[in-house]
């Protein structure tokens, strides 16, 4: 019964989505306004640009930077968080810094970063990584600090310590919440890719969109926006699949907690 309603909900979601796309398609069909070209024209431009003409020149560099920056950021956040979380005094000492950095919109750092580290690809990757660190770090620190005491006491009673404890108890125990942080970081990473490319780049999807806007190639601009939306959707779906796989052995409690 519950299964049935969940299928019904999913169908309903698809239906609403389809209705909105159809409304856009029909509503824009005869549009002569250059700023709102018909969806039909946008999809044509989408096909011309992204299947697959501009994929190697613009999409691949963007996705590469996204992947590298994101993974570095998540690894650094989780690693540092594991070390900070188990040291209460250190944790209290650095919490305000983490809170501050997390509250600072990472896009605000872009102009400074351009001056300091330049506009090269590694600068962008570094900025994406820096932006991704904070949500992961905060979640990891909290998760490790709030690990079930019985887990750590059992480990202590059976003399499981050091690296073995870190890898077999602490990391998997904190994993659901680390992944929650990693998911938040994913949205941040996509924002950072697009914005860094808009500000200082000669290639990439963000650069494509801003360049199309500046040259009044508005259907191209729309096609880029559409692509960015699809990428966001796809990487989120991918993330959920990976998350489900990683938490399978945690059982029903582990999966629902994140």
């Amino acid at each position: 019964m519950r299964r049935l309603t969940s299928v019904a909900h999913r169908l309903l979601g698809l239906l609403v989505f389809a209705v909105l796309v159809a409304a856009w398609w029909l509503g824009s069909q005869n549009s002569l306004n250059p700023f709102y070209p018909p969806l039909e024209v946008i999809t044509q431009h989408f096909r011309d640009n992204w299947l697959f003409e501009r994929v190697p020149g613009d999409l691949v560099p963007s996705m590469w930077r996204l992947a590298v920056g994101y993974l570095i950021g998540v690894a650094a956040g989780a690693g540092l968080g594991m070390l900070i979380g188990v040291r209460p005094r250190l944790r209290r000492a650095v919490t305000p810094v983490i809170d501050f950095m997390r509250s600072l919109p990472p896009t605000a750092l872009i102009p400074t970063a351009i001056v300091v580290i330049g506009i090269g690809s590694s600068g962008k990757v570094g900025l994406i990584a820096l932006a991704c660190v904070w949500p992961v770090l905060l979640n990891t620190v909290t998760a490790v600090a709030n690990l079930d005491v019985i887990w750590s006491q059992t480990a202590k009673a059976y003399r499981i310590s050091g690296w073995r404890y870190l890898r077999r108890v602490q990391l998997p125990g904190a994993l659901p919440q680390i992944l929650a942080g990693a998911r938040a970081a994913l949205a941040v990473a996509l924002i950072m890719v697009v914005v860094t490319e808009m500000v200082g780049s000669t290639e990439g999807i963000g650069h494509f969109v801003i360049q199309a806007q500046r040259t009044f190639a508005l259907a191209d601009m729309w096609s880029g926006v559409l692509l960015i939306g699809l990428i966001g959707f796809a990487i989120n779906a991918l993330f959920v699949a990976v998350q489900r796989g990683l938490l399978r052995s945690h059982g029903p409690r582990g999966t629902t907690r994140s």
């Binding site: 887990w151 006491q153 108890v169 582990g254």
Partner: protein
Amino acid sequence: MLEVQSLGKTYLGSTPHEAIRDISCSVTEGEFVALVGPSGCGKTTLLRCLSGLDSPTTGEVRVDGARVIEPVASMALVFQEYGRSLYPWLTVEQNMRLPLEAAGVSRSEIRERCDRALTDVGLQGMNDRHPWQLSGGMQQRVAIARAIAYRPRILLMDEPFASVDAQTREDLEDLMLDIRSRYDMTIVFVTHDIEESIYLSDRVIVLSQPPTTVAKVFPVNLPRERDQLGTKSLPEFIELRTAVHRAIRRDEDVTAGALAKA
């Protein structure tokens, strides 16, 4: 082999709380000792001090003459919170292996010990299940299997059967007697259940209300072979049960009287 000398434990804080005043006792090799007492009498605190997880404020715990200041390899602890003491992301066997790997036991011996321990607790073939796929009673069996695969000389158990149903509890009690006869272990068993304490042990130590001291000690002179119906209906058993009950009750009365006066 396990000696407790004038152990006391006071929790410091804004209002210091004296949990244990003065406990001295010793457990000989191969003995099964049950600690009983009213709830909140510091049984768990005492066991934590015995295991080395917690340190006493005064006095000391010694195993074979060596002072216990942190968990030692010769002791294993079975927690009351059996469900939470197993790691859900590990399988039954991985849960059992982890302490053995940390202790540097060889691969082949680990496998042997795990299989034997699982068989002894009646869970053969459950190696690859996860704890969350098992019932509460089975989870506690896994926790016991993990402890016996560790081959401690002393097994400490903290109200291990407090949160399982009555039938499962009887099964687990008999399992403990069975394990006791198979493995050469000294067992210290904490419980608030008087019948359980007598049924399982060679000696019952009754603890007082906090600040806790040893109220009374009862040797259990029942035959080694025990069974749920037979043993529990023996006149000696019933007599002992009344005596232990009275010892606990008297202590409660004394405390109540003192409170009334104050």
